[in-house]
């Protein structure tokens, strides 16, 4: 096995994690041999549904759990053999802000600086610079308990940037933020990436958030289904999709599925048709099947469609192999 490339921000090879069982729960493999390489300066989003293994991968990356097998290097430092050195390179943002609610913003920031060996003069200098782009300038002496969710998130971000990490790990950081706060937070991350070259690895179960990334990895049941730039992933889906909503669409799905070059997927009351002449299909649906149809739409494929298609294929493969 060749060693991972030393310059990668994150290099993961053959990572396996198996949860040991308890008396009533059998052992469960959460990650089945993941290989992943993230170049420095990339905005990388790890996405997938709940239970796909992204939280397990995150916990291993930030050193909270040791995997069953595999190698991880952070900027060339072996995370499993020398965790302290590797951790100096990272800033970690958890789902719940890791802040003391009884302390002020400044006190929280100072604790973090001390734990990350930032000398006091450097702390003041960095604080001034970091606080400038946040809305915290006048709130430094307020207790964290009095801040809004968005401001607490900003405090958290300023905090983890104090030790100037080259890699930011974020676990579902937008959970609990309103849509405005969510967009503002993602824009801040993008600014950090562009201005300071910080590598960002973020987990998210929202495919819409992944669209902003340079690279997206889609995880399902502990396996990587796909990894590429979002645009390239959606390109793979081909052109537009015809989305038909209505009742009892099984027959229609079957009929369209028989046509050469046409792919269909049916989930609940939604039929998705790709390939062929979509305008022709619309005309046909409107003339022959008006009763079954509630709405018709043509849309550009999104990552969610990529996921639906990939999981459909994976399910099919699972069925065939069993």
């Amino acid at each position: 096995m060749t060693p991972p490339p030393p310059l990668a921000a994150v290099a993961i090879r053959q990572l396996i994690h198996r949860y040991p069982g308890a008396r009533r729960t059998p052992p469960r493999t959460a990650l089945h041999g993941i290989d992943l390489c993230i170049a420095p300066g990339t905005f990388f989003v790890l996405t997938g549904p709940n239970g796909s293994g992204k939280s397990t991968l995150f916990r291993i990356l930030c050193g909270m759990a040791r995997p069953s097998a595999g190698q991880i290097a952070i900027f060339g430092h072996d995370l499993l053999a020398d965790p302290c050195t590797a951790r100096r390179e990272m800033g970690v943002v958890f789902q719940r802000p890791a802040l003391d609610r009884h302390l002020t913003v400044l006190e929280n920031l100072r604790i973090h600086a001390n734990l990350h060996h930032v000398p006091p003069p450097l702390f003041r200098q960095r604080l001034e610079r970091l606080i400038a782009w946040s809305d915290l300038t006048d709130r430094l002496d307020e207790r964290v308990a009095t801040l809004s969710g968005g401001l607490a998130r900003q405090t958290e971000l300023v905090k983890v940037l104090l030790h100037e990490p080259r890699l930011l790990l974020l676990d579902e950081p937008t959970v609990g933020l309103d849509p405005g706060g969510r967009i503002a937070f993602l824009e801040t991350l993008q600014r950090l990436q562009h201005d300071q070259g910080v590598t960002i690895l973020m987990t998210s179960h929202l495919f819409a958030e992944a669209e902003r990334a340079d690279q997206v990895a889609i995880l399902r049941q502990g396996r990587l289904l796909a990894m590429d730039a979002p645009a390239r992933l959606t390109e793979r889906m081909g052109r537009e999709i015809l989305v038909v909503q209505g009742e009892a669409l099984e027959e229609l799905a079957h009929a369209f599925g028989q046509r050469p070059g046409v792919e269909v997927s049916l989930q609940a009351n939604e039929l998705r048709i790709r390939g062929g002449d979509l305008l022709e299909w619309i005309r046909e649906l409107l003339t022959g099947h008006r009763q079954e149809i509630r709405s018709l739409a043509i849309k550009q494929p999104t990552l969610e469609d990529v996921y639906v298609q990939l999981t459909g294929r994976a399910l099919q493969a699972d069925e065939e192999s069993s």
């Binding site: 949860y19 040991p20 951790r87 970690v92 958890f94 890791a98 009884h102 990350h116 060996h117």
Partner: protein, 261 residues
């Protein structure tokens, strides 16, 4: 490592003084218990060899020890809050030895206890116990050891707990009995054999000896006594032992099971 420990200790102190109910809770409860039990039992308390002692005076070192127990417990309960609030995760991923987490918490607990207990020593002359600087120094040393023991023990229990309710249950069935069976409430001497056995193996009994003895004997006298040194050794073994166990506990990282096949 030192800076990380001091940072976490400082945080404990700031948090403590910023929550007035905590200050009142850990100080007022022992004082109330002292006032009520001391007042109520004084008339009926006639321990052999201690006839000249009022119950309030007998109970005084026990109250001081109770203060150690309570502030140690309250300090470690915050560990559960830290975990639930997410703060602990932030500390765990920092490039510091996990030992700093234990030492920071224990040192914080000890500092908080001493801040409360040392002023209470001023009550000794009011009870008619003259107290010199040397005696007071040895009592504070007893405070220190017992508080390390209680806080490290609390840390050990709280480390993997998810709810403070669970901690309260352990406190009532395990931590409080440790204090009750230490000779704080009643002397060992006239207890039934089974109780005496429990009390003598209880390290807290010996911690209490370290607090009670200097109240009545000058240092030159008790430092020459074998019983005092035995109590000192047992208390040190308890404090250091629980501290080592807590250190071992925090260094346990969740590990994946060996891969299949």
């Amino acid at each position: 490592m030192m800076r990380a420990t001091l940072t976490l200790t400082h945080r404990e102190l700031v948090r403590f003084f910023r929550q007035p109910h905590r200050v009142i809770g850990s100080l007022a409860q022992p004082l109330l218990i002292w006032a009520f039990l001391g007042g109520g039992f004084t008339a009926s308390f006639r321990a052999p060899g201690m006839e000249q002692l009022s119950y309030a005076e007998y109970f005084y070192p026990g109250v001081l020890l109770m203060l150690m127990l309570f502030s140690g417990i309250f300090s470690t309960i915050t560990l559960i809050e830290d975990r639930n609030q997410g703060l602990l995760q932030g500390v765990l991923v920092a490039p510091v030895a996990r030992m700093a987490i234990v030492l920071g918490k224990v040192a914080g607990g000890v500092a908080i206890s001493l801040v409360q207990a040392v002023p209470l020593l001023l009550a000794a002359p009011l009870l008619g116990i003259p107290l010199g600087w040397a005696e007071a120094g040895w009592i504070v040393w007893g405070f220190f050891l017992s508080c390390v023991g209680f806080t490290a023990l609390g840390f050990l229990i709280a480390w993997n707990m998810e709810s403070t309710a669970g901690f309260h249950a352990v406190m009532s069935v395990f931590l409080m009995p440790l204090w009750m069976l230490s000779g704080a409430l009643f002397p060992l001497e006239n207890s039934p054999a089974w109780l005496w056995g429990l009390m003598i193996v209880n390290p807290v009994t010996h911690a209490l000896t370290l607090i009670r003895t200097p109240l009545y004997h000058p240092p030159l006298e008790f430092l020459a006594s074998r019983d005092y040194w035995l109590a000192m050794t047992i208390t040190i073994v308890w404090a250091v032992g629980t501290l080592m166990l807590a250190l071992w506990r925090v260094n346990q990282v969740e590990r994946g099971a060996p891969p299949e096949g």
